[in-house]
Amino acid sequence: MIDALYFDGRSAAARPVRLRIEDGALVLQEAGAASESGAESRWPLAAVQWPERTRHGQRLIHLRGGGTLRVPDSAAFDAWRGDGGDGAGSWVVRAQQNWRATLAAVLGLVVVAAAGFVWGVPLAARTLVAALPTTVDAEIGDAVLAQIEQRWLRPTALPQARRDAVRHAFVEAVAAAYPAGDAPRWRLYFHAADKRLGANALALPGGAIVITDAMVDALQGADDTLVGVLAHELGHLRQRHGMRALVQVSLVGAAAGVAFGDFSSVLAGVPAVLGQLAYSRDAEREADAEAARVLKAAGRSPKAMLLLFDRLRPQPGEGSALAIAFASHPMDEERKAFFRAAAD
C-alpha cells in the first residue's frame, strides 16, 4: 500500500489515492471521507507503465488511456515495488544505478571507441569506397583541381624538356612496378605555386597528381627522389586515400555527433578533425611503402628519398607529443628510418 495522487488525464485536478496490487491488477482506492469503503478502480498490470528507478525526483506511473499517478515519496515507492521494475529496460536501469557498472561502461566505451577508431572506421571506409564507382573519385577530383588551380596554382615555368624528362622517368618506373599494366590511372600536372604550397606534390581522387615547380627545382639532379615523390602520390591514388578520408571524416563525425551533438556541433567536429590527422599519418605510411616499392622495381634505391628531407627541411625540428597529435605526416625521423630499411 502506498499513497499517490491520481490525475485522470481529463482534468489537472489531483485526487489522493492509495495503491495496492491485487490479482494481477493495480488497484486505486480513493482516500475519500468514506475511508475504507472509498471508490475503487482497477487497472490490469499490462496497462500500467512503471517508472524507471532514479535516485532523484518523484515517481510517475502512467496508465493506458491517459491517467497518471504521482508518488511523491520515492523511497517508499521503491521499497514497495522492490525489484519488479519495468521488464525490458531493467538491466540497463540497474547498470545506471550502479557505479561499478557505470565504470565498466566507461571502460567499455573507451574500448569500443578505440577499436572503432583503429579498425572499425578504416575498415568501413575501405569497404564503402570499394563499393563506390571510380567515376565518383573523378568527379570530386576534378572539382578540387579546378578550385586549387584557381586559388593557389599558376602555369608552370619549367622548360618543356625538363617536364618531359620527369614524366618519362616516372612512366618507366610505373611500368616496371606494374608489369601487368594494372597501375592506377594517373595524370601528371606541373604548376607554379605560391609560398604557402611551396615545394609540394599532391594526389587528388580520380588520378590527378600535381607537382609544384619548386619541388622539381629542389630535386634538380635527383631524378630517383623525384620518381619516389611521384610514386608516393601514386600510392595515395592506388589506395584511394582521398575518398577514404572523406568517408572516415563522415563516420567519425557521425559517431561524435551521437555523443556530443545535442550539446555543441563544434565540439562534435573536433574528433573528426583530430581523427583525420591520425588516419592521414597511416595513409602517408602506406604511400611511402608504395614509393619504396616502385623505386626498387625501377632499379632505383629507396635511399634516394632521404634527400627529400635534407633538401626541404634544412633544420629538422624535434617533435613534442602535442605537435605529433596535430601533425598530418609522421615525424621525419620515422620516415627516414623506413626508407633506409627499405633499401636493404
Binding site: A14, E52, G66, G89, A95, V258, G261, L267, F326
Partner: protein, 387 residues
C-alpha cells in the same frame, strides 16, 4: 501544498531536481549501447534522457513527463537516416543531384520542423494533461519564408545572370547584378532579427495546455532592441577578446616556437582559436541566451498563465565558462554534468504564474501526434527546437 496563493494568483516555481552524477551514469550506459548497436539504440537512449530531464523538472511541485514511444521513434529515425544518407551521397555523384537533394530537403524542412514541435509537445505531460502544438503546416512554411527568401532570390539571380554573362553585349545587367549580390549580405544582416522574430512568433503562439493557448507579445521593436544590444556587446566582447588573445598567442608562441616542426600546423594558433571559441560562448553566447530566454518567456502568455524568467548573465557566464573548460579538459566526460547544471540554472530562473487554480485546467480534445519522423529529423538534421 504545491501552489501558494498570494493576492495575484498561484505561483508555480520551477525546480530542477536532477543530478549531474546520476545523469552521467544514464548517459554513459546509453551512449555505449548506442555505439555497439551502430546507432539503433539511439531513440531508446533519447527517450531515457528526455524522461529523466522532464521528470526532474517540477512545475509547482508536479514533474513534467515524457511519453514518446521509442519503437515509433526508431521508425522515424530509420526513415530520416535514409533521407540523410541519400542527401549526402547525392552530392558525391554529381553536382546536379546534390543541388536537387538540397532543394528537396530545404522544401521539406519547415514541415519536419512543425512535425517535431507537434511530436515533442504532444508527448509532454503535466498533472496528467498533455501539451499541444497547434501551428499548422502551412503556417510553418509561412514562418520560414522570410529566411528562405534571400536564398531563393540569390539562386534566381545566379540563374538569370549566368546566361547574361555569357552574352558579350550584356555587360550592364551583369554589373547591376554584381552590385546587388554585393549588397545582399548587408541587407540579409539587417533583416535577420525580423526573420528570426517571425519564426519564433509562429513557434511561441501555438503552444497549448488545457484550454490555455499561448500568445507571443514580443513586437518587432523589442526584437531589434535586443539585436542592437547584442551588437553593442559584440563590440565590447570583441575588443576584450582581441586584447586577451594577442597576449595569449604571444605567450604560447614563445613556448612552442622551439619545438614546432617547420611545416606542422600552427599549434599556438589552434589553441588560441579554441580559447576564442570558449570565451565567445561564455560572453556573447551567455549574454544572448540569457536575454533571449527572458525576453521570449516573459512575454509568452495565455489567458490565465504567464511566466517570470530572471536568467542573469552574471550567473550564466561563469557557468558556461566552467562547463566548456571542464568538458574539454575531460575529453567530453563532463558533458552530462554541464547539461544538468545548465538546465538547473535556466529552469530555476523561471516561475510560472496562474491566475486560476491550475487544478481547474481541462484536457483539450484531440491533438495526438504519433509521427516521430519530425523529431528524428530535428535530431539528425540539427534543427534546433529551442523550446
Amino acid at each position: 501544498m504545491d501552489a501558494t496563493t498570494p493576492q495575484s494568483g498561484y505561483r508555480l516555481p520551477i525546480r530542477f531536481v536532477g543530478s549531474g552524477s546520476e545523469y552521467f551514469r544514464i548517459w554513459i550506459v546509453n551512449l555505449l549501447l548506442t555505439l555497439v548497436t551502430l546507432g539503433l539504440y539511439y531513440p531508446f537512449a533519447k527517450v531515457r534522457r528526455l524522461r529523466y530531464f522532464h521528470g526532474a523538472t517540477e512545475v509547482g511541485g508536479d514533474p513534467l513527463s515524457f511519453h514518446g514511444d521509442p519503437w515509433k521513434m526508431l521508425r522515424g529515425y530509420l526513415l530520416v537516416a535514409a533521407l540523410v544518407v541519400a542527401y549526402s551521397l547525392a552530392g558525391w555523384f554529381s553536382p546536379a543531384a546534390g543541388a536537387i537533394a538540397f532543394v528537396a530537403v530545404a522544401a521539406l524542412w519547415p514541415a519536419l520542423w512543425q512535425l517535431s514541435l507537434k511530436f515533442r509537445l504532444a508527448n509532454t505531460g503535466w498533472r496528467g494533461l498533455r501539451f499541444g502544438f497547434t501551428g499548422s503546416r502551412g503556417g510553418a512554411y509561412l514562418a520560414w519564408l522570410p529566411l528562405a527568401l534571400p536564398g531563393v532570390l540569390f539562386g534566381a539571380l545566379v540563374l538569370l545572370l549566368a546566361p547574361a554573362q555569357r552574352g558579350a553585349a550584356a555587360a550592364e545587367p551583369a554589373v547591376a547584378g554584381i552590385l546587388l549580390i554585393a549588397a545582399l549580405p548587408l541587407v540579409m544582416l539587417l533583416a535577420l532579427p525580423a526573420q528570426l522574430w517571425w519564426l519564433k512568433r509562429y513557434q511561441q503562439r501555438h503552444y497549448r495546455l488545457g484550454g490555455e493557448k499561448s500568445r507571443f507579445e514580443v513586437g518587432l521593436g523589442a526584437a531589434y532592441g535586443l539585436a542592437l544590444r547584442l551588437f553593442g556587446m559584440s563590440m565590447l566582447f570583441g575588443l576584450l577578446l582581441a586584447i586577451g588573445v594577442a597576449l595569449f598567442t604571444t605567450l604560447l608562441r614563445g613556448a612552442f616556437e622551439t619545438h614546432q616542426p617547420p611545416d606542422g600546423p600552427p599549434v599556438a594558433a589552434l589553441l588560441s582559436a579554441a580559447l576564442v571559441f570558449v570565451l565567445l560562448q561564455a560572453t556573447w553566447g551567455a549574454y544572448l541566451l540569457s536575454r533571449l530566454q527572458n525576453l521570449v518567456w516573459n512575454r509568452t502568455r495565455s489567458e490565465h498563465l504567464h511566466f517570470e524568467s530572471r536568467l542573469t548573465f552574471r550567473r550564466l557566464a561563469p557557468l558556461t565558462l566552467r562547463n566548456w573548460l571542464l568538458t574539454i579538459a575531460t575529453l567530453g566526460l563532463y558533458l552530462p554534468f554541464a547539461q544538468v547544471a545548465t538546465a538547473r540554472l535556466r529552469l530555476e530562473s523561471v516561475t510560472a504564474l496562474s491566475a486560476t487554480d491550475p487544478a481547474l485546467l481541462l484536457q483539450h480534445a484531440g491533438g495526438g501526434a504519433d509521427d516521430a519522423s519530425g523529431d528524428a529529423a530535428a535530431d539528425l538534421l540539427g534543427i534546433d527546437l529551442g523550446l
